[in-house]
Symmetry: C2
C-alpha cells in the first residue's frame, strides 16, 4: 500500500486496473416489477465492495493488471472471479482515467472490458455468490465510483453494434428459434421489431443455418431451430480481442493465448 499525503499521491503514477461489464440475456424483470411484458431483458453481475471507498456498495467486477498478462487475460480473470459462466465475447470498451474519479483514493486508470455470456436458454442459474448478485440492467442499484456511467456507455455501444450479427450470436445460445433471436434484438433495442420482416432479413443474410430440429414452446406450432453458420463471425476491428486474427493482442503474439484455450471449453 502506498502511503503519503494528498500532494504526494497526485504525483504517483496512476494505478492500473481492469473492470468488466458482463451481460447476459435473462428472463423479464422480477416479479416485484409491475411491468408485465414478457420480453426478456439483459442482466449483469455486480460485486459488493469490501473496503473503502464506497464500502458496501455495488461495483463492476474488476482486478489489478499484472505486467505479464495481456489486457484480455486480466479482464478474463476478473470475469472468472465473479461468475462461472464463460464469455462468448470479450472486447475492450474504453479506458477511464480522470483524476476526479478516484474520489480521494489513489489516482486510478481503469481499462473497461465488455463481455457477453450465455443466458437463460441453457438453464444456467444466475447464481448469486458471496458478494455477487445479478441485476437487470434497467434496475441497477446505486453503483460505486463512476461505474454507472460506464454501464450506460456499454449499453450504448451494445445498441450501436446490434447490426453486427455475431454480437447477437454471443448472447443467444448455439441453437435458437427465430422468435428467440427476435426477442434478443428487442431486448437490446428496447423497441418493437416487426417479426415478419425480421425473419426475412435474418434468413436473407445467409448467416443462419437450419438445424433440422423443431422446438415447440407451448401448445403451438413448432418453430424451426437455427444456428449461426460456422465462421460467420467476421473480424471487425472490435471483436479483435476474441478473434485473435486482429491486431489487439494478435499481431503481437497470437500463440500464447490462455484465453482462447479457456473459452473453447
Amino acid at each position: 500500500m502506498i502511503m503519503g499525503n494528498v500532494s504526494e499521491r497526485r504525483r504517483q503514477p496512476p494505478q492500473v486496473g481492469v473492470s468488466v461489464v458482463i451481460l447476459a440475456l435473462g428472463p423479464a424483470a422480477r416479479a416485484d416489477d409491475r411491468n408485465d411484458q414478457t420480453r426478456g431483458t439483459l442482466w449483469m453481475p455486480l460485486v459488493r465492495r469490501v473496503r473503502q471507498p464506497f464500502l458496501g456498495q455495488w461495483a463492476l467486477p474488476g482486478g489489478g493488471l499484472r505486467a505479464d498478462h495481456s489486457l484480455e487475460q486480466s479482464a478474463y480473470a476478473a470475469l472468472e472471479s465473479t461468475t462461472s459462466l464463460h464469455p462468448r465475447y470479450l472486447e475492450q470498451l474504453y479506458t477511464f482515467g480522470d483524476p476526479s474519479r478516484s474520489h480521494g483514493g489513489l489516482p486510478m486508470v481503469s481499462i473497461v472490458y465488455w463481455a457477453l455470456v450465455g443466458g437463460m436458454d441453457e438453464n444456467v442459474e444466475f447464481a448469486d455468490g458471496d458478494n455477487v448478485s445479478w441485476f437487470p440492467v434497467d434496475h441497477l442499484p446505486e453503483l460505486a465510483f463512476d461505474h454507472r456511467e460506464i454501464v450506460d456507455y456499454a449499453m450504448e455501444r451494445l445498441r450501436g453494434k446490434i447490426e453486427y450479427p455475431d454480437i447477437v450470436a454471443r448472447l443467444v445460445g448455439d441453437r435458437f428459434t427465430l422468435s428467440q433471436l427476435h426477442d434478443v434484438y428487442e431486448a437490446i433495442a428496447e423497441e418493437d421489431i416487426d417479426l415478419a420482416n425480421f425473419r426475412r432479413k435474418m434468413l436473407a443474410s445467409g448467416l443462419l443455418e437450419d438445424t433440422g430440429d423443431k422446438l415447440r414452446v407451448g401448445r403451438n406450432r413448432p418453430a424451426t431451430v437455427y444456428r449461426y453458420k460456422q465462421g460467420t463471425a467476421q473480424p471487425t476491428p472490435w471483436n479483435v480481442a476474441e478473434s485473435r486474427t486482429d491486431f489487439a493482442a494478435s499481431d503481437i503474439d497470437p500463440q500464447d493465448d490462455a484465453l482462447s484455450a479457456l473459452t473453447t471449453a
Copy 2:
C-alpha cells in the same frame, strides 16, 4: 480494485503512457511518388526516438501520464509537444497493454488517442521540427514498437466513422466547397465517390449551410462555399464518456472553445 502483489517483480504494475495518432489532410503524396492522381491524402507527424529501444526509429508522439491530468489532457500535451497545430478532434482509440509489446523494455500500457488537425487549405506548413517529420499515411517509414499496427487500426476506425459528419468537419476547414469536401471523403475512403450523388446527400442531410460566398478555383464556374451548421457535432458515445470533466467538453461546444479561438489564427 488494485490488488497487485508488490513483492513479485513480474507483477509490478506497468508504466502508463499516452500516444497520439495525429492526422491532417494535406496535398497528394510527394513528387517521388509516381502516382499522379491529384487526390489529397492524409499526413501524420512522427517523432524520432532518442533512446533505446528502437533508438533512431520513428514513433508516435507520446508521453507519460500524470496522475493529476485527465487522459485527454495528457494526450493533448503529447500532441502539442510535436506540432503547433491545434486539434479539431480528439478521441480515445484503444488501449494497448500486452506484455510482449515492450520488446524487452519495461512493461507498458499505452492509451492511444486519435487527433484530427486542420490541413492544407489554411496554408499551414507541415513544419518538420527537430525530431519531428510529417509523412503521408500510405508511405510511412518503419515504426518503433507496435506503432504500425496502431496506425492501421486508427485508419480503419477513421473509415468506419466517415459516416459521422462531424468527423469530416474537423478535417476540412471551417469553409469549403462541396468539391473539397468530396475530396476529403475520397481521401479517407480511398475510393471514388460519385460527386453528383455526394452533393445531394450532403445537402439533404441538412448539416451544411450556405455562407453566401463563392470560390473560384481555376478559370471555371465559381463554387458556393458552405460551412457546417453550428451545433452539428453530435456527441458521439466517445466524447460523451469524456465530457464530464475535461477539456474534451470544449470539443462539443464550439462556443466557449479555446481551441477554435486558437485555430482561427
